[in-house]
């Protein structure tokens, strides 16, 4: 891997036209902010954050549903830590607050930990919040399958899983979408493979480069995106070959296909998108929290004061939101982008550039 200095020089040598590029992975968003990459790019080359933070794309209405479920007697919510501070529609309301009010909310690092909690608490109902994209979908599917096979009847999965492709297609179809190239998510690509992004150049003429997560990885991917634009030859380039193959992880894809089925889902900022969510297949209905607790799929969301939806879709920079850093901070977040460790606002707030 060339050094950061070499890559920065190579990017400058391309003399790129002003252009907007988009990263669609929260880990990229944070790595970019943390290392200060934006400050070393040529003027006019902008990196915007797309819908790459799974917590952030979960709409407020669903968060409210989760908060209500957490107060049901006998329910234990098992969740990744990221979800705990995400606010519902009332400011200050969150799983963390509900926990302080008596709800049982357990932080887990893997869905298998949640099964263990269910085994240790046979009289309780353990609901695992399955948040994430294709990266976490196989693990969530395995947990549901394992619970079914082992007969852990008090364990259910609330699938909030989402697929990246339908969301990117929705963005590309949206009005006034100015992005000219995608920095593709390395983790998602390990599952779906580099070929999983071919629709970007082939159907939309969009350069697409799969990137790793070190500052040098990201600089290299930006260089390749700018070079594709210069050459006018959009294609998928895999800059993360140490983890990503052309076809992806076939075993994981098999498990997903067996356990999960695409369904219409709601996204913050993007609304309802056909086939964009992943629900448990009917043979796993015993393990499906939405079935067990009669959780209805919600209608399209109402507009709110929170502008996270615009941030997620690259239409608003975090710092341009009137709430940013004022009413909305990591300790008192109004929207999920400020609270999630992958959120664009949290990255912009935590890693603000300094100038004397």
């Amino acid at each position: 891997m060339p050094s950061a200095e070499t890559l920065i020089a190579a990017i400058r040598e391309l003399r790129p036209e002003p252009v907007k590029l988009m990263e669609v992975c929260g880990t990229h968003t944070h790595a970019i902010a943390r290392s200060g990459i934006k400050s070393v790019l040529p003027e006019g080359v902008e990196l915007l954050s797309g819908p790459g933070c799974p917590v952030c794309v979960t709409p407020t209405e669903v968060i409210d549903q989760i908060l209500s479920l957490s107060m049901e007697p006998g329910v234990i919510i098992a969740s990744y830590g990221d979800m705990l501070r995400v606010p519902g529609s009332r400011p200050g309301d969150s799983l963390q607050r509900r926990r302080a009010l008596g709800a049982r909310v357990e932080i887990v690092y893997s869905p298998m930990d949640a099964i263990e909690i269910a085994k240790q608490n046979p009289a309780k109902e353990v609901v695992f919040l399955g948040v994430g994209f294709e990266t976490t979908a196989p693990g969530t599917a395995i947990a549901a399958l394992t619970a079914a096979e082992q007969g852990v009847r008090n364990f259910t999965v609330w699938s909030l899983l989402k697929r990246v492709e339908p969301a990117l297609r929705a963005l590309l179809r949206s009005e006034n979408f100015q992005v000219k190239g995608f920095l593709c998510p390395g983790h998602v690509a390990t599952i779906i493979g580099a070929e999983g992004f071919r629709y970007l150049p082939e159907e939309y003429g969009m350069p697409a480069v799969i990137s790793g997560f070190e500052p040098e990885d990201i600089l290299l991917a930006v260089y390749h995106l700018l070079r594709q634009l210069k050459e006018g030859s959009p294609r998928v380039e895999n800059d993360y070959p140490r983890a990503v193959s052309a076809k992806g992880n076939l075993l994981a894809q098999g498990i997903m296909a067996r356990c999960l089925a695409p369904r219409t889902d709601l996204w913050r900022g993007l609304g309802e998108i056909p086939d964009s969510g992943l629900g448990l297949r009917p043979q796993l209905r015993e393990q499906d929290a939405q079935v067990r607790f009669g959780l209805e799929r919600l209608p399209a969301p109402k507009p709110t004061a929170c502008r996270c939806g615009e941030v997620i879709t690259g239409r608003l920079r975090p710092a341009d939101c009137p709430l940013f850093g004022k009413r909305c901070t990591p300790e008192d977040p109004v929207g999920p982008c400020m609270v999630s460790s992958e959120g664009a606002c949290s990255a912009a707030y935590l890693y603000r550039p300094a100038s004397p």
Binding site: G36, R97, P215, T329
Partner: protein, 334 residues
């Protein structure tokens, strides 16, 4: 509609919400010169000037690589006194035990306290024991308070001058990463808490390097939060060099996995010292002559360019602001 304020775990994180609790609830009602100085310990007037400090320990798990709640409870209070320039002498100890707690574990914890006291040269001279019903505690909580003789008055962040060097006595984040990983059930390999009493090293440093401006142990909230406390509301700032920050590979890996930042992870056996630039090498030599300070390095400097801010120079050459810890996921680590 704003919700009624209640205590959430954030208020115990050592970050911004903890500061808010102290400023809005405690100081207005209880403030006095000794308390309002908000040092690690209170400096008390009188014939022999005294340093007084207290700390409660609720860490889970009670035992972790590198220490346990007993050792932590002695080191924590001893270090608070030492960072004020005091020589710790006597501690109190209060146990809050939960019904059903195994006597064997209590024995181990008390033995570990005895070992830490001996090493630090302090005695536990008063104490209290309460037992609460099953389910009303989490095995064991410990409070310790300590008293020491003020040997080096005047240590304060107000002494900082532009150009001063910021030193750390070793790697960052060892305690926080170890306990967080132990809690997640994924602990393996070389991770160990750095839990240690720092009083001998601190007093040796103060003996030999007369210009020391301030000492502080970066516990909850980590190095970034402690350095912010140094320059808050001041005309000066601190600039850190990211490449100079010492982090063990195992801690780095654990932080990556858990989504933590070593700059915000708790340390229980490290001190930060600010010294005049020309005393940097002398101070590092003293720190490195102690086991606890073997990996001491300079990580940055005091600057007039960023008033009230801690900034970090990144390897790409940019600078970014480091804030105080803002309500991160910090389960009970001390």
């Amino acid at each position: 509609m704003k919700m009624d304020e209640i205590i959430t775990l954030d208020y115990g994180s050592g970050g911004k919400k903890t500061s808010r609790l102290i400023e809005q609830q405690i100081l207005p009602a209880l403030g006095n010169p000794a308390l309002s100085a908000l040092g690690d310990g209170a400096l008390l007037p009188g014939g022999d000037r005294l340093v007084f400090s207290t700390d409660s320990f609720v860490v889970s798990p009670l035992f972790f690589p590198g220490g346990d709640i007993g050792k932590l409870s002695v080191c924590g209070t001893v270090n608070d006194i030492a960072m004020c320039g005091g020589e710790p002498k006597y501690l109190s100890c209060a146990f809050i035990l939960e019904e059903g707690f195994p006597m064997e574990n209590l024995e181990k914890i008390i033995a570990s306290m005895a070992g830490a006291c001996e090493k630090a040269g302090v005695q536990i001279v008063t104490g209290d024991t309460k037992v609460v019903e099953k389910g009303r505690g989490d095995g064991l909580y410990i409070n310790t308070a300590g008293i020491g003789v003020l040997r080096y008055p005047g240590l304060s962040p107000r002494n900082l001058r532009p150009g001063d060097a910021v030193l750390i006595s070793g790697t960052m984040g060892d305690h926080g990463a170890t306990v967080m990983l132990a809690r997640s059930g994924m602990l393996e390999g070389e991770l160990r808490s750095d839990c240690a009493c720092l009083n001998h090293m601190a007093l040796d440093l103060l003996d030999k390097v007369p210009g020391v401006r301030v000492l502080r142990d970066p516990t909850r909230g980590g190095v970034a939060t402690t350095l912010n406390e140094f320059v808050e509301g001041s005309e000066l700032g601190i600039e850190l060099i990211e490449r100079a920050l010492p982090v063990r590979p195992a801690v780095h890996a654990a932080c990556e996995m858990l989504g933590l930042d070593p700059l915000y992870c708790a340390n229980e056996g490290k001190l930060l010292a600010v010294v005049p630039e020309e005393q940097t090498e002398a101070a590092l030599a003293v720190l490195r002559s102690h086991e606890e300070g073997a990996n001491a390095v300079c990580i940055g400097s005091v600057t007039g360019d960023f008033p009230g801010r801690v900034v970090m120079k990144t390897p790409l050459g940019g600078r970014r602001i480091l804030q105080k810890l803002t309500g991160a996921q910090l389960p009970r680590i001390c």
